[in-house]
């Protein structure tokens, strides 16, 4: 396995061969009946001020990566290194100082806010938990956070049901920023929102990054949104990262057949897009309970050959900074297709 972050001194977060397996418990005697290989050996790094996008289809394990990274889920194996310190074995007590620096924004702005707490209480709760700022100072800081995320401070007394979806997501963002974290995991933060509201939240996340020097792990299924927000993008398929590189390279020269198919499946809101060449994958994503042997993607891959069915391809650096796990490149086979999109014609 690789560790993409070569410049250790600069790297904020590094993940090495992270695994998260869930046992399937069945029957009255709670017998283990199988394992869900949700995250099965994932490695990446995130630099300060950088956004790493993590994209993939439902069930590929992208949200589990985010949660395991924050130790909201205990990793099954692998290492999570924050500024050089391995936190994968840290207990609750040891994690506390890290929790202040690593926060999360959730997908569902309806389910992630306690309906019995006012918006102000929700945003000030991190201060209470970590015993930071009291009384008037805490109120001032909450008010400042409200303003920063584009909510009027008078709304502090309102309850979640009084807000729209976009406003609720702003409350979730204010809560995540309360303790001035360095790193925020955003798990599908805009996918429940209407497009005109999506743009507001995306812009806010980008402004906050510029202003506060935040690093993001941006988890989403919408490749266009991910590419817009991210510096680099990692593509996941069935518990593994199949490709990582900067967003432009990923789009122009995808090195994994899955990335190629994913790029060509994303509808582009332009009339000229309808004449582009597309790869349409057959079949469904296999179950993570019983993933295919060898390369997980071989059951849907148009380029699959014998080796793909037996041997797991390693994620390796094919060109500088561009990692892909596909036997085609090991075998010296030139990637067969031209870039899948573009404005070749109108």
């Amino acid at each position: 396995m690789i560790t993409a972050g070569a410049n250790g001194a600069q790297t904020l977060i590094e993940v090495r061969d992270l695994k998260k397996h869930f046992p399937i418990i069945k029957g009255v005697f709670s017998r283990p009946a199988g394992t869900v290989y949700a995250v099965d050996g994932v490695s990446f790094h995130i630099d300060p001020g950088e956004t790493l996008g993590l994209v993939g289809e439902s069930g590929c394990g992208k949200s589990t990566v985010g949660r395991t990274l924050l130790k909201l889920l205990e990793p099954t194996a692998g290492r999570i290194i924050v500024r050089g310190e391995d936190i994968s074995g840290h207990d609750h007590e040891q994690m506390l100082p890290y929790r202040r620096q690593m926060q999360m924004i959730y997908q569902d702005p309806y389910a992630s806010l306690n309906p019995r707490m006012s918006a102000g209480e929700i945003v000030s709760e991190p201060f209470a938990i970590h015993r930071v700022a009291t009384g008037g100072e805490r109120q001032d800081r909450v008010a400042a956070l409200f303003e920063r995320v584009g909510l009027r401070p008078e709304l502090m007394r309102a309850y979640p049901h009084e807000f729209s979806g976009g406003q609720r997501q702003r409350i979730g963002i204010a809560r995540a920023l309360a303790l001035s974290p360095e790193f925020v995991v955003s798990d599908e933060p805009v996918s429940a929102l209407d497009v005109s509201i999506q743009a507001q939240i995306i812009n806010l996340l980008m402004d906050l990054q510029d202003e506060l020097g935040l690093s993001y792990l941006f988890v989403a299924h919408d490749l266009a949104v991910v590419e817009h927000l991210s510096h680099r993008v990692a593509v996941m398929y069935l518990g593994r990262i199949v490709e990582v590189t900067d967003k432009t390279t990923l789009f122009d020269t995808p090195l994994h057949p899955y990335t190629e198919a994913l790029l060509s499946a994303v509808p582009i809101p332009k009339y000229s897009a309808r004449s582009r060449k597309r790869v349409i994958l057959k079949g469904d994503v296999p179950s993570p309970i019983n993933p295919p042997a060898g390369c997980h993607f071989h059951t849907r891959c148009i380029y699959a050959h014998a080796r793909c069915r037996e041997e797991v391809p390693a994620l390796r650096e094919v060109t500088p900074g561009h990692w892909a796990s596909c036997h085609l490149h090991d075998d010296g086979i030139k990637f067969p297709l031209a870039p899948p999109t573009g404005n070749q014609s109108t």
């Binding site: 497009v195 743009a199 817009h228 198919a261 499946a265 582009i268 809101p269 790869v279 349409i280 469904d284």
Partner: protein, 352 residues
């Protein structure tokens, strides 16, 4: 379904596709009578769809796009909803004048609908074969055995592997993409003239979405079905629709051919919407100092309490006193290009 397919329509499409309208919605008004007041969910919407054509209907949640479609099939729950005005012309009749019995002969037979969430629209207690054949026996007077054979045939048509076996499967045994294929098989089993697809791929992953849209295109070519494709996804519309209707707060604000709508949008809302969506091919080439997306200020107004004048005016950068005073008429500004905006001519003259 072949892989690596090159598809697309010819660029030289006429501004208005030829052929007569199969279904025509004329000044439809569907209101909901709630304790908080009257919600004008659909407030004077007109559009038509022709044979073999895909009409895209786009808009954000609550704009009335789904209620319009449900009104066509007279499926709006009454109370609280009621169709209070307009006509729905189909096969020489106004569907709003038909008896419930006559409507049953239309639903699922001449006009079918597929919904966003296939799991909630399929009966979990019946095999998919039973569900498909039910429509066929009811509408076509075919024997049970004949209908089952037709069901297998339909499953094959929608590219479900091993249709003879799957016909005995229950919905929970199928994946989301397969369930949507079953829905499509069911909707097309009686060879309808019009298929209303309400967010047919929204619950699906993007690679599965591509499969389903491709399938709908293939079936449309085979059967010549008119499709009303309702979606919030501008990308899906751009790549699949021939003509597009844009809705906002219960009304149609713009209609044009897909090409015109995406290349020369005339309504400020359409423009704002298009500019607010990240476009994969563009964003991939932005540098690290990323470009901000266009924001449409504020949010969709509550249908309980619509602003006076143009409902988009409070969010519109071009709004003037005229906009705040009166709702603009829907006017044809260019052949086949209809816009409801006082400033449409000025906007059309300036590049998007």
């Amino acid at each position: 379904m072949s892989q690596g397919v090159l598809f697309g329509r010819t660029a030289e499409e006429p501004e208005t596709a030829p052929g007569a309208a199969v279904l025509e919605i004329d000044d439809l008004r569907t209101h909901f009578f709630t304790q908080a007041g009257v919600v004008r969910a659909v407030d004077g919407v007109s559009y038509a769809v022709r044979a073999g054509e895909t009409l895209g209907v786009v808009g954000e949640s609550g704009c009335g796009k789904s209620v319009t479609a449900l009104s066509v099939l007279r499926l709006v729950a009454d109370p609280p909803g009621r169709i209070v005005g307009g006509k729905i012309r189909f096969g020489g009749a106004n569907l709003l004048d038909l008896s419930e019995n006559e409507m049953e002969g239309i639903r699922g037979n001449e006009i079918s609908m597929i919904f966003q969430e296939p799991m909630t629209s399929l009966n979990p207690l019946l095999t998919v074969g039973r569900q498909i054949s039910e429509a066929i026996t009811v509408h076509q007077g075919v024997s049970a055995r004949g209908a089952m054979n037709k069901a297998v045939e339909m499953l094959r048509r929608v590219s479900i592997p091993e249709p003879e076996r799957r016909v005995h499967a229950y919905p929970h045994q199928l994946s989301g993409g397969m369930r949507q294929r079953v829905m499509i098989a069911m909707a097309l089993s009686c060879n309808p003239k019009v298929l209303i697809a309400d967010e047919p791929t929204t619950a699906l992953d993007v690679t599965i979405q591509a499969q389903i849209l491709e399938l709908m295109r293939e079936l449309q070519e085979t059967f010549g079905t008119a499709i009303i494709l309702i979606t919030h996804d501008m990308g899906v519309v751009a790549e699949n629709a021939d003509r597009v209707v844009v809705m906002y707060a219960g009304r149609k604000v713009e209609e044009a051919s897909a090409r015109t709508l995406f290349e020369q949008p005339g309504h400020p809302y359409t423009r704002g919407l298009l500019d607010s969506i990240p476009k994969l091919d563009v964003v991939a080439h932005e540098d690290a100092r990323r470009i901000r997306l266009n924001e449409i200020e504020g949010m969709v107004p509550s249908l309980h309490n619509l602003p006076k004048g143009c409902t988009f005016a409070p969010r519109c950068e071009f709004a003037t006193d005229q906009c705040r005073a009166a709702y603009p008429p829907l006017l044809q500004h260019r052949p086949g290009h209809v816009i409801a905006c006082w400033h449409a001519d000025k906007l059309l003259a300036s590049p998007a």
